[in-house]
Symmetry: C2
Subunit: 254 residues, 2 copies
């Protein structure tokens, strides 16, 4: 039979309702869904007819894991019309999409990519801190906190810098940013579980960024540094030194 | 009466089905929708019960326009439970969200921000060129092509740089990037109408980026430069020098 197509879909930062309508429509047509760690089980309700395969679990996560995932994608696409590869956030950003696209291309299997909400945007929304600002915040950079650790990357990259996967090394990141030329009083916004009803946002300066570690411990964490982390000139009434919860709620829960 | 809330929603890059399910759910509850230029009329179907007010049109777009929009938002929020402020792309990115959040905070009106797909992610999806790559493409910067024009910004910022609103000055942007140290053979991917069925993606080198101007003329255009613009090691069968159309289709249209 003619091979099917593989549709890569960005699920967004976690909560199921941050997927796009287009992503949801493809899920409704999927026969098979290959997914990483599923942060919100409600995503399954968008494709109850499909066979869901967890490729994020142990056994796939090792060094040989990517080759296994590639082979499985190809095998499923040869036997089904629509195979969805569901990825957290956006597939084109820190998503290791390239390897899977290459494997499918080599096998002659058609692909489509549906973008998703990346965590930086959900974090900015929850903190109500726009990542770009008129005048002072015109450029934005995105990196993982691990990326920044490289000694050749210790320069300021943009007016606002966002770091993914930052929760485990907040203090170290702050030190690296200070060495890169940011001042100790540079604003830093820390958001964990962005996009969820229990999202937490806290405000800091680089000098005390390490203090955020306890509050956000064990939760996926985004750090925004620079212009985009600054409070608005007129503070929102509901935003104090610590703005906890009540962020990113679905309409039905408010 | 108690003032309502204003919900800022990112509509995504244009096509209605790239809005999030959460955004669509809020639209379904909206009594009033203030929107900029509406790229896809199908967005109206998500809130047929609401009064739609175009604040992108002439009269609002002038220097005094923002103050008018702020006043209108406050006025509507005082008379309705749910007022949606619909913005293209993501509200936190190049969306001038700050001014409106400030005005509403000063008026004591509660706000919520729902993120949206920003055009860079839709462009990467359509071109099937992940913005980050293992090893060589670990950092990403986002800017407008106009931002880059500032003489103090002529340095390389990241492994991959994405420029919004680039269509009218492709050749000038290429010259600026060459002066910033990028080589003439640096890959550049140009995508216009990202996220639409008639999305166009073309591949270039910085030296001939200006050649893309005719193909993408009159269309919202994103330029990706550097690691994230490179073709995958194994080219997809459907991707040639020019990969036109068939990108980002909704399931119903394929």
């Amino acid at each position: 039979m003619t091979p099917g197509r593989v549709v890569f879909i960005g699920a967004g930062p976690g909560a199921a309702d941050l997927i796009t309508m287009r992503g949801a429509a493809w899920l409704a047509r999927a026969e098979v869904v290959l997914h990483d760690a599923l942060t919100d089980p409600a995503l399954r309700d968008l494709a109850p007819q499909a066979r869901w395969i967890d490729v994020g679990k142990r056994g796939y996560a090792h060094a040989t894991g990517q080759a296994k995932i590639d082979a499985l994608l190809i095998d499923e696409a040869r036997r089904h019309a629509v195979v969805v590869r569901l990825k957290g956030g956006d597939p084109s950003l820190f998503g290791r999409l390239e390897e899977e696209l290459q494997a499918l291309a080599a096998a002659g299997i058609e692909c489509e990519v549906i973008p998703g909400i990346t965590a930086a945007l959900a974090a900015a929304a929850d903190a109500r801190r726009p990542l770009t600002r008129r005048g002072s915040g015109r450029t934005l950079s995105l990196a993982t906190a691990m990326t920044r650790a490289g000694p050749h990357e210790l320069q300021r990259q943009a007016d606002t810098e966002v770091f993914y996967m930052a929760g485990l090394r907040l203090a170290a990141l702050a030190q690296e940013l200070l060495r890169a030329g940011w001042t100790a009083d540079t604003p830093a916004s820390v958001v964990s579980r962005a996009g969820w009803p229990d999202s937490l946002a806290s405000e800091h300066r680089l000098a005390d960024l390490g203090d955020a570690a306890t509050l956000h411990a064990g939760r996926p964490t985004i750090v925004v540094v620079g212009a985009g982390a600054a409070a608005a000139a007129v503070p929102a009434p509901q935003t104090g030194g610590l703005d906890a919860g009540q962020n990113g709620n679905a309409p039905s829960s408010t």
